[in-house]
Each structure stands twice: as C-alpha cells, then as structure tokens.
Subunit: 408 residues, 2 copies
Amino acid sequence: MPKISNKGLSMPESPIRKLVPFSEAAKSRGINVIHLNIGQPDIKTPQVAIDAIKNNTVSILSYSKTEGSDTFRKKLADYYSKHQISIEADDILVTTGASEGLSFVIGSIADDGDELIIPEPFYANYNSFSTAFGAKVVPIVSNIDNGFALPSIAEFEKAITPKTKGILICNPNNPTGYLYSKEEIQQLAALVKKHDLFFIVDEVYREFVYDGKQHYSVLQEPHIDENAIVIDSVSKRYSMCGARIGFIITRNKVLRSIILKFMQARLSPPSYAQIASEAALETPQSYFDDVISAYVARRNVLIEGLNGIPGVKVINPQGAFYCIVALPVKDSDKFAQWLLEDYSLNNETVMVAPAAGFYATEGLGKNQIRIAYVLEEKVLKRAIHILSEALKQYSLNENTAKRILKKI
Amino acid sequence: MPKISNKGLSMPESPIRKLVPFSEAAKSRGINVIHLNIGQPDIKTPQVAIDAIKNNTVSILSYSKTEGSDTFRKKLADYYSKHQISIEADDILVTTGASEGLSFVIGSIADDGDELIIPEPFYANYNSFSTAFGAKVVPIVSNIDNGFALPSIAEFEKAITPKTKGILICNPNNPTGYLYSKEEIQQLAALVKKHDLFFIVDEVYREFVYDGKQHYSVLQEPHIDENAIVIDSVSKRYSMCGARIGFIITRNKVLRSIILKFMQARLSPPSYAQIASEAALETPQSYFDDVISAYVARRNVLIEGLNGIPGVKVINPQGAFYCIVALPVKDSDKFAQWLLEDYSLNNETVMVAPAAGFYATEGLGKNQIRIAYVLEEKVLKRAIHILSEALKQYSLNENTAKRILKKI
C-alpha cells in the first residue's frame, strides 16, 4: 500500500484508547464501569443555550464569518472585561474547539523541528497538535512532591535553544489541578519577553478555581501583547463539550493575520454551536456558583478518600477538575487494565487514565493515574472504595507472584 | 516580536479576500453587489434537518464519538449503498467539514516536501491544506480549450517523483464544473495502482450532475481499496454549509487508524451539526429533483448569457455549480477590483472571483474568473447584463488608456 507519513506514524495515540476494549468487554460481562478517566462533565448545559437552539430561526444553515460571528465576539469581549481582562472583539478568533485553536497557533509559529517548552505532566493532545505540525515538545518536569508547582525559571531558561518558539502552559492545569500564581505567570512573562518567545496559555478551566483563590490571566499581564496567546473554550465552562467552540485571543495583530489564513482554509466554525455559545454567555452567576460548589464537594470527597488509602499520594487541586494520583503500584497501565479485566467489587469497577501518557519523558508517571472528578459524590465514594479494595487485592497478587517467581 | 513560522508566512490568502474591502466600500456607497464569487447556495436547508434541531432532546451537549456517531455512520453507509457504492459504517470517518477531512488525509500521508499532484485550476484551499502540513502541490494544467478535461495520463506520469504521495482531483470539479468520466477515473486508478500512490477524490458535489450524466465514484472502482480516499460533505448537498460536517471514506484500514489519531486529538465533530446531518439523510428525492432543476435552469441562463458577450469563452459545466470564464481582459484581478470600485449599472455591480488564485502555476488564469451560479435566474440575468456592459466600458477605458500612453 502507499506509504503513511512519518508524522502520521509518530502521532501519539490517546493514552486511554488501548484500555477501551477492556472497558467494553467488562461492560459486556455485566460489570458497571465507573469512568474516572474522562473529562466529560455530568453537569447540565445552561438552559439559555439549549433554548437558543430550540428557538433558532435558521432556514439556510450558511457559513458564518471565518473568525466567528461579530455579535458573538463582541459579547465575548464583554465577558472578559467583566473578568478584568480588557480586550477588543477583533482580538478574538473563534475556532472549532480549543483543539483547533491550539493547532492553528502551533502551525502559525512552528516549523519542522521547532520546539515548544511545556511543563509535564501536560494535556496529552499538546503532543499530538505539535507532532501534526512538525513541532517538538521539550518537557520540563513538574513534581508531585512539589505539588506540581511551576518548575524553576532556571530550568526553563536552560531548555531554551535557537529552535524554541514558545512556552505552553495550562492554567489551571489539566491533568494536575495546579493553579499557577500571579508571580509564576509574571516570571514566565519576563522570560518570554527576554527571549522573544510566544507564551501560550490554555485557560479553558479559568473559572474552575477553588478555596477563594483568584485566576491570573496572562492577558492581565502588561507589556507582553506581542507574546501572549490565550486559548479558551465554552466546552467545560458551560458543559457543552459537543459544541466544539473555542477561541484564540491575542493582541498580536500580525500573528492574528497569519492564524486567519489557516482559518480561511477551513471556511468557518460551526453555525449552530455559535448560536448556542453566544446564548450561553447569558448564563446567570447562580449556575456557576452551583457548579463550583458541586466540584468543591466532589474534590473534597475524592481527596479525603484517596488520602485514606495506604500508599496513595495526591495533591489537593486548586482548580480544574482533575488530579494526578501516585499509587503503590509499579505500572499503572497494567493496573488500569487489571481493574477492567480481572477485578470487580459488587459487580462494579473503575476506569482510570494511566498518567504516563501525560508525560513526554519516557518512564515518568509510571505509578500515577489521572482522575477526573466529574461524577456525583455518591459515585465518587463508591469509586474510591473500589480503588482501595482493588489496591489491596493487587498488592496481594503482586506479592504472591513475587513469591512464585522466587521459587522458580 | 517572536517569529512567525515559514509555513504560516507561506499559507496562501483567500483569492477573494483582498477584494472584500472594495465590495464593502461599494455597499457603503449604496451600490447593490451581486455576489457571483461565493459558493454559498441560496437553497433552503431541508426541513427535516431544521426540525431535528428544533426538536432535539439534548440536556448535556457532550462530546460525540471521535469518528462520528454510530447511527449517523450507519445511515451514511446506507446512503452510499443506494448510490451503488458498497461501504461499511466503519469505512467512514466523520470530520468537521470536508476541510478538516482533507487536512487530516494530507497530514496522514505527506511529510515536509512531499508532493501531491493536482490538475489546475483547483479549489484554492487544497494549496492551504498542503502548505499547513508541509506538502507541495504539483499542478498539471487542464485547459479551457479542451473543456477542462483530464490532462493526458502521460503528463501525470511525467510529474511523478519519489516524493509523490498522491493524486488529488475534485469530481465534479470546483472551479471548472467538469465531470470526470468513468474512463478518466479508471485511467487515474491504473496509474496510482502502478506507482503505489494515494488517489484522493473530493466528491462533495457528487449529486450535482446534469443532462442525464452519471457520476462515477472512485469507490466504485475495484482493486484500489488501499489507494482510494473519498472526501465528502453535507454542506452543498443539503445546503447546510454552516453545519461543518464532512466525511473521509476509505477501505484502507491502516490509513484510517492513522487518521483516527489526528481525529482523537481534536476529540469529536460538532454534536448539534451531527443531529441535523443525520436527519438530512431522510431528505425526500423531490428536494433534490427541485434543486437540480433549479441549478440546470440557472446554468442555462448563465452559459447562454455569457456566450452572448463578445470575447467571452465558457464551457458548459456538467456538474457542481461553478464555471471558469475567460474574459477579454488582461488581468481579471484588476477588472474585478474595477467592477467594485469604479463601475455600476442602475446602482448595481457584480463581484467575481479572479481565477489566478485557482492556479498554482504563476501567470495562468490571468484573464479568467470563476462564477458560482447559486443565485436566482432573474439575479443571474441582471448580473450577466452588468458584466456585458462593464466589459464594453472597460475595453473603451483600456483603449483610451493605450491611446493616451502612446501620446506620452
């Protein structure tokens, strides 16, 4: 057959994809699989967005403007100004999800072999978008023992080469739940300014911030208008992941004109989803208050539960709805498969995301998993209990296996 | 500021984008601009699709399956089997428009510097998708004097190098309206088989075929399952360009597994649009009969009118809803701008797409324009009259200018 491209061959697979057949097999054996592995919230989409679609008056579903509808971008600018971020509608480019936004940004700044510095663990698809456009991810390790805080600026500076095009962070962070402080953002801002790099911040979880903490956007930082690029999305904020509406925000006009060429080629973002997303901006504050309360309660249940399991280590996340959990196992990949293939408690088991897929450095995160706390408290409690019992069993099995191996 | 990527700099601009400010200025002067330049049909979206959206029961707008919803793909397979194309639901990958489909196909088969052979003139964005993924377009000229038929196979064969990854055609063709015959498809099929290349056919206009002709899909051709890739879309077929739903269809499993990795990174195609698109498959045949009749009537009005203008050359298109028109002008770019900036008849003018943007070879198509006949007959008649009168005036101006230049 004709040859596949090298970049096609090296595109990473989804870290959980290989577990899906085991999950499906478990379900077909009648086992209830609790999904701790995916970030699909069970929160209802705001009624105002649902209603806008049901009451739409479209008779010809035509292309929208390439950069997104003007009224939508105007209202988005208003949304940010309410959040102490002063931007114009023209600074916003509407994309088909944050995913497309990141792809077009990487395509606009990186050629084959160019480098992006990203603290790891990071959202696995950053690697995919980079690979698709020939860019290379240069990871800087952030450590669970340090609460996944920003690694020292010296380490970033050491990683900068003539090929470095930018630094990419996610704030608050998927998968660690870490919220970068204003000081950390300012340190990175000074660094990108010094080395004339782009500073891309994925802020899709910007409103999921807990315990009275404040989110500091890179767009609030002065003097880096040419460097700063924010990626945002309606997916998590309004629990409308299926809309596929995101944004690129940058005050850098030249960069916008380049990104616009990538956008023109794909014509326009989806029209129905823009109607829903524009309406979603009218969501009352009470919706968010309820959602944040729900996530805090879920997080508290999860972290307390996990801390009660011997040998488990987890950091209390300050934002987003994920955490990285270190387990008393050697290989969380094998453990995740075993949970689906060989274990159940009262006919239930859990599916987790092995964390190795969130690291670019081979061998890191082998004993870690990522958990998304997007399920109801009572389900999370059952899931923690299952995990706890499963770990006991798994440890027994491992010891038995060791004893057998010794005898052989 | 930080540096833009080379591929970002070399991404082509939309061929009509630079005319947009002139069109907007004309409108602000109170002039009615008839848009012959864009392929946005004025045909209503089928009621069944509109109704499905209005009656949807979504309460959490969640991610769909990465490769598109199972029921949708199953119904799509049924659609193709009604059109003598035997494929399975698994052979279909649902993309965010044909644009995303083409991008992912090119990314999956081409690395930096790899080549795609495309007969020119071609849909301008083929060049953009190729540039974004580092691929190079190698054009083969198809000629208006030959009715834009497939260039000889010898010319294709001459263009094949070790870097060639595939041949890409659009059938029926945008911008020429040419419908490739079964024999032409078979000649190319034999060629890709012989040289082990991919054969990508953009069939988004497959149902817009006139005068009793039959469309022959590359998927009907036996023995090239590993080579053949079809790109399709609901955009034009159901006049729902704003849905952004397309498909990649290939029986090549290995290729599908690679494309799926690009798809996983962007999570899923838009959910609302899939609901509308699945419902659109129930559109009654009478809708298409009416649409085809309307396009044939429009085409007839257009071609007859254009043939009545001295010095104009046009081929009667057998499919899609575009034609390439050779004008008695030196530079259609300047003429198109002049139409918007300096000309009007009864307070109206026309906007056309200069054809040079549809050619990869510098200097070709300079006297040509592309016209989309997606407007009502009475509007098309006025547009032809305006074009005819404008050409007289433009020719007078040119001659006057020449006389003045001679005197200087």
